[in-house]
Symmetry: C2
Subunit: 209 residues, 2 copies
């Protein structure tokens, strides 16, 4: 069975559209984040080595390194989302013909729901980082490709807001409210910062067009 990353863009979209539960919005969020990271890399790759941008070259080399690591992280999250969702569905499918089975099933669901909260939270964090990387790309990158930094920030923002929905939906099902509230508080912090950051970076790009 091929991983999503190894399937064609068209087949990925076919599978997203299908009545199969995975891949779904969680994988789409990770792909958007990965597109953001890739576009930050593109801006770096088209800035590094140009005499006009020699002053920012060292900084953009570092940015490129960070964006490439982040892209791999986000690409891995495309699969992580499918895996945890499939695991959760398997738990819901566990037998519940007696009290012992019901108890076991309930415990298993709760354990995997925690994981299913942490996986999109990690994606949200990665997308928030992509917004910050796109800020440097927008501020320092080659003006000829600055619009790509603007696309990067919008993709990262959409990925974050999308992953957030999956954190919220899974956290809602958790009985361990202390754990759930802690993750939701962390998410709220990310969303609050990102809302302004994304608008600022987009405006930075628009002002340079």
């Amino acid at each position: 069975m091929k991983e999503i990353k190894d399937k064609s863009v068209e087949i990925f979209l076919d599978e997203l559209a299908s009545k199969q539960a995975t891949p779904g919005g969680g994988s789409a969020a990770a792909v958007m984040g990965a597109q953001a990271a890739a576009l930050v890399s593109m801006v770096c790759n088209l800035t590094i080595g140009k005499p006009k941008y020699a002053e920012v070259e060292a900084e953009l080399r570092d940015l490129l390194g960070e964006a490439e690591v982040l892209r791999q992280t986000l690409l891995g999250m495309v699969k992580a989302d499918v895996d945890v969702f499939d695991k959760l569905m398997a738990c819901y499918g566990l037998s519940k013909t007696n009290e012992q089975e019901k108890l076991y099933r309930g415990e298993q669901i709760q354990t995997v729901l925690k994981e299913a909260t942490l996986v999109p939270l990690a994606c949200a964090k990665a997308c928030a980082q992509a917004i910050e990387l796109s800020r440097t790309a927008a501020e320092k990158g080659n003006l000829g490709v600055i619009s790509d930094a603007g696309v990067a920030v919008m993709a990262a923002y959409a990925g974050l807001k999308s992953a957030a929905l999956n954190v919220q939906i899974n956290a809602a099902g958790l009985k361990d409210r202390t754990f759930a509230e802690a993750q939701l508080a962390e998410l709220d912090g990310l969303l609050e910062l990102a809302e302004n950051a994304a608008a600022q970076v987009y405006q930075t790009v628009k002002d340079k067009l």
Copy 2:
């Protein structure tokens, strides 16, 4: 030479990140729009046929039809963006050793710049339509997959804001200001409507989580 849609997700991202000018933000915008349309289809496919949602079934069948057409349109725009950009680069590469060549080159650039303004404008329109389709998915779709309608609206919104940057950057280079201003006015109309629409649809989803 394979079209982007036939390349793996990973290779598409590698090429997006590379120092090659295409694919770039324009193709990424179209992919985001196509992801939005695919997720609307997913919500439809997981709602149609369920007795609980029999009342909205006819409406969601229509929505599915529209989303599938839109997805194909947006997938075609991934290639259209690359093609028009390559065409523009070819014009910039035209010889300009004498006045006649310079005149011809200038005219060719202006002709292709118009096309390079219309291609992302069409993508922006398609993404605005995807926002409207995600609204119906959010309002009428299966509650169990309602978060996917939220991801759809964010992907469509990011696609629209991304395509907008490419309209603006290419319109800025046009000498035919009447043409340019007409396209920019149309774009502004789309952006104004979409800003509220996207926020509303996202909120509709959040309220249902």
